[in-house]
């Protein structure tokens, strides 16, 4: 996700500071009518009330074709039902995929290249018309239209004929690889075995869109709801989004969404400091407020830690995400595995974790896969650096590599402050490598320039900070884009930054993709991660931990290992 520019954020931060000094004038609650009941988060969740969502990023592109989500998103999932969805449970249980519009996770056949789904009976849109399999097919097809781009690339890569399909506005015939033999059945034909298709079916692209109601790029203003809420108003391209109950949604066909509040009021474009200030004050309507995009920062955490009442209103979660150092072995001296290993040994993960916000906001990582069961995480530490690095071992390796007199390298990072690839992380690495005789020069790039540079096969630097998040909680979307040799992209965004093209790795990825038993596949992904780790193409640094405040009246907080953040579909405010 793109971050707002450093300058604008800095200016915003200083304005927030000024506003605070001026007696919180600018950060007061927007609606003081619904007074706080003061009952706290305990008690049985009941229906009713208004849930306010305070966000920094607007819900732009509120069109199921354009949304890039993991598991269908948080707010989008209130309006868009999908073929499958994420299990709305706490922790590891929540990383499982469960049926949504479909009766099950799909029936694979022909070596997992054909997936067949049957829709549950009696499911309706907000206007009372029935949801059909043809609408799901149409919804997927329109995500191929150039004007509605933005989603994940998997459907284009996996569906037969997907690579050349231009969407239903240009090609009315549609995609032959999606068949709808009757109103409740949909069949997908893939160009290779994909055992993880049920995970992909959680994304909003599998949301039904009735062709008669499609308004193209304007559809996002009022998409037809299949979920418990419908869009009442959408102002300023998703800056303020108001949702109210969809009377035709039936809880009987939807086991996942609880839909307690009567109304959801999403207010975006707020500064992170203001959001956290308002949630901690929890005044008026803010008592029934949550955020779906703003974490607590280190300084805010230090403040919350001193206040027991406030600390009780912090939700903690883990999203599958890894921050790492990437090497480009085409650039000297990183072509030498000994140099890469030496850097791995020299890393001081305690300093790095502190720079990322401390042990409550980041966990040191020695594996590329996140430390969650659904990823099939297998623990390993091939180049043990201990808590604070092993400069002696690093020096020894450098000497063997012919750099006994020391080494000067350039580390590329982004200039975005308080971001995972920030100058703070880079300087922590610089300080650690100095002890091993490695002089690190820092090359900070502005955010757009940074992502263009590190994702370009031609411009890629030798040594840079990078990060990867899960499209769904499995090893597949985590390892394949980074380590599959056939996914090296010469022109365009390349994620295989180590240019690894190992036939053995490629073959194993193909083998795992054939497995439809997701748990069995996970174990194989974990083993593959351990094996790739031996090549020291990356230095895993840390996995972030999400901590988010919520208002005093918020109940039924559920945080899964899939998203790592509280699920708005479960929250009650009464």
């Amino acid at each position: 996700m793109r971050q707002p520019s450093v300058i604008s954020r800095r200016v915003a931060a200083s304005t927030a500071l000024l506003a605070l000094v001026a007696g919180l004038a600018a950060c007061g609650p927007e609606d003081t009518k619904s007074a706080a009941a003061g009952s706290g988060a305990a008690g049985e969740p009941k229906k009713g009330g208004t849930l306010t969502v305070l966000n920094s990023n607007p819900q732009q592109d509120f069109d199921p074709a354009r949304l890039y989500t993991s598991g269908g998103g948080n707010v989008p999932s209130l309006v868009f039902r999908t073929l499958t969805t994420r299990n709305r449970e706490d922790g590891a249980e929540g990383a499982k995929v469960v049926p949504d519009l479909a009766t099950d996770l799909g029936t694979p056949s022909e070596n997992a290249t054909v997936w067949t789904y049957t829709l549950k009976e009696g499911q309706k849109y907000e206007d009372g018309t029935a949801i059909t399999s043809a609408d799901i097919k149409y919804g997927i097809e329109r995500s191929f239209a150039a004007e509605l781009s933005g989603g994940a690339p998997y459907l284009r890569d996996w569906l037969i004929g997907g690579a050349d399909y231009q969407g239903p506005y240009k090609d009315e015939k549609g995609l032959d690889s999606i068949e709808t033999p009757d109103d409740r059945t949909i069949v997908f034909r893939l160009n290779k075995p994909e055992g993880e298709f049920p995970y992909l079916a959680t994304q909003t692209q599998t949301t039904p869109v009735p062709q008669a109601k499609d308004t193209g790029t304007k559809y996002e203003e009022h998409p037809v709801s299949s979920g418990p809420y419908k869009v009442v108003s959408n102002e300023n391209d998703g800056e303020r989004l108001v949702l109210e109950r969809n009377p035709h949604w039936s809880a009987a066909t939807d086991e996942e969404r609880k839909a307690y509040p009567d109304r959801i009021d999403v207010r975006s474009g707020l500064d992170a400091a203001v959001i956290n200030q308002r949630l901690s004050a929890s005044q008026g309507a803010d008592a029934a407020a949550v955020t779906t995009d703003t974490n607590l920062g280190p300084a805010e955490l230090a403040k919350v830690g001193n206040d027991k009442k406030l600390a009780a209103r912090v939700g903690t979660g883990h999203f599958g995400y890894t921050n790492y150092i990437a090497f480009n072995p085409k650039v000297k001296p990183f072509d030498d595995p000994k140099v890469r290993q030496a850097i791995s040994y020299a890393i001081d993960r305690t300093s790095v974790v502190n720079a990322a916000g401390g042990s409550s906001l980041a966990e040191p990582a020695t594996t590329f896969l996140p430390e969650r069961d659904s990823f099939g995480h297998v623990p390993y530490d091939h180049f043990p650096a201990g808590r604070t690095g092993d400069p002696a071992k690093a020096k020894e390796l450098l000497k063997e590599a012919g750099h006994g007199k020391g080494l000067t390298v350039t580390l590329t990072h982004s200039n975005d402050k308080d971001f995972e690839t920030s100058p703070e992380i880079a300087t922590a690495i610089q300080a650690a490598l100095k002890k091993a005789g490695i002089t690190v020069e820092l090359q900070g790039l502005e955010s757009n320039d940074y992502s263009d540079t590190i994702r370009s096969a031609k411009k890629e630097p030798g040594f840079f900070l990078s990060h990867w998040g899960a499209d769904w909680p499995s090893g597949g979307p985590f390892l394949a884009p980074i380590f599959d040799g056939r996914q090296i992209v010469r022109d365009g965004a390349n994620f295989n930054s180590g240019f690894l093209n190992d036939p053995e790795v490629n073959r194993e990825i193909d083998e795992i993709n054939k497995i439809t038993d997701l748990e069995a596949a996970a174990a194989r992904w974990g083993a593959l991660d351990k094996k790739i780790g031996e090549q020291a193409l990356t230095v895993p640094l840390f996995h972030p931990v999400y901590k988010r405040l919520y208002g005093e009246d918020v109940k039924n907080v559920v945080i899964s290992d899939w998203t790592g953040v509280l699920d708005v579909s479960q929250i009650a405010v009464k």
Binding site: A299, V353, G357, G358, L442
Partner: protein, 330 residues
């Protein structure tokens, strides 16, 4: 021009001439208590900046070493201990999240903050003098051209231009030098306007006319006759521009386009500290307080210098001006 005025102006010129002028200048400066105190503060700051390696060695610290054990990692990295982790080793405590020594970063930061402002001010003086003198002494056409350029320069929004320039220059260019060049290169118009106006007045005076009639070239006249007389307004202006330049550097660093890590500058430290104002207030208060004291001291000193160089104001001080009493009684 009346004869009396001529005498007075001519008399003013030697007042700032080297030997006796400098001595009386110091005497007049010392007579102002606030200015003397400010001068002492500035001297201390400059010495601190110059002796940064010595002072940090004395404290046994350096500005870039991480001390992860001195911060509470689970609480976001807030320094352990009171007043931001003040101890015998860390005189001003440590930085949150990194545990770097604050005292070392402050004294090294002084080097950048003062150094950048000094170079920027010198550049403003040099550009202002050259452009102002050229406008005053050159042809009418040149005066018109330089006048328009100066007007445009006055109208330029300094911060916006600086932000744009700093964003496009490659990262390899040494940052402190670049910032000094940008601040100095943009902010010379005030100086050039003063120099031009003063030079135009001086040009019509007899001693300048005499020099020109004796056949000396324009630049020789400018150097030998005009420059000494321009010293007073230039020094005064510089003394007031210097603290402004410190603020501009701090603002640029605060906006994230200034000094790059790990080099500390006070402005950069303020940026890092902006979210910590509640959890670790000393982290914000120390660089902010120092910046405030420095700018205040420099401004008071600048005002003192202006007073000491201004013969009329100096006369009111009743020191160092032999003719002071007579003028007043006249």
């Amino acid at each position: 021009m009346s004869e009396a005025l001529l005498v007075q102006e001519a008399g003013a010129a030697p007042a700032v001439a080297p030997a006796s002028g400098a001595r009386s200048f110091w005497r007049r400066l010392r007579a102002q208590r606030a200015a003397s105190a400010a001068a002492l503060v500035v001297l201390l700051l400059v010495l601190t900046a110059l002796a940064a390696p010595l002072l940090t060695a004395l404290a046994g610290q350096d500005p870039n070493t991480y001390h992860p054990d001195l911060v509470d990692s689970a609480a976001g990295g807030v320094p352990i201990g009171s007043f931001g982790g003040v101890s015998g080793e860390h005189w001003l405590g440590v930085e949150p999240q990194t545990g770097r020594d604050l005292f070392a970063r402050i004294v090294y930061g002084a080097r950048v903050s003062l150094g950048v402002a000094l170079v920027a001010t010198a550049l403003q003086i040099a550009l202002g003098l050259v452009i102002g003198l050229a406008a005053a002494l050159g042809s009418r056409w040149l005066d018109q051209l330089l006048g328009r350029i100066t007007d445009i320069n006055v109208a330029l929004p300094v911060m916006v231009i600086a932000l744009a320039l700093l964003a496009i220059v490659p990262a390899a260019f040494p940052r402190p030098v670049l910032i000094a060049l940008v601040i100095g290169g943009i902010g010379w118009s005030g100086m050039s306007k003063i120099v031009r106006a003063q030079a135009l007045t001086l040009k019509s005076l007899d001693f300048v006319a005499a020099a020109r009639l004796s056949g000396r070239g324009t630049w020789s006249v400018a150097r030998r006759e005009l420059l000494p007389s321009l010293a007073a307004p230039v020094i005064t202006y510089a003394a007031l521009a210097f603290p402004t330049n410190i603020i501009v550097e701090a603002a640029l660093s605060f906006l994230g386009v200034g000094i790059k890590p790990p080099t500390p500058s006070w402005g950069q430290m303020l940026t890092e500290a902006d979210t910590w104002y509640q959890a670790a207030p000393t982290y914000l208060l120390i660089p902010a307080g120092l910046l405030f004291v420095t700018v205040l001291a420099l401004t008071v000193l600048g005002e003192g210098v202006r007073t000491a160089l201004d013969p009329r104001a100096a006369s009111r001080l009743r020191v160092g001006t032999r003719t002071g009493g007579k003028e007043e009684s006249a």
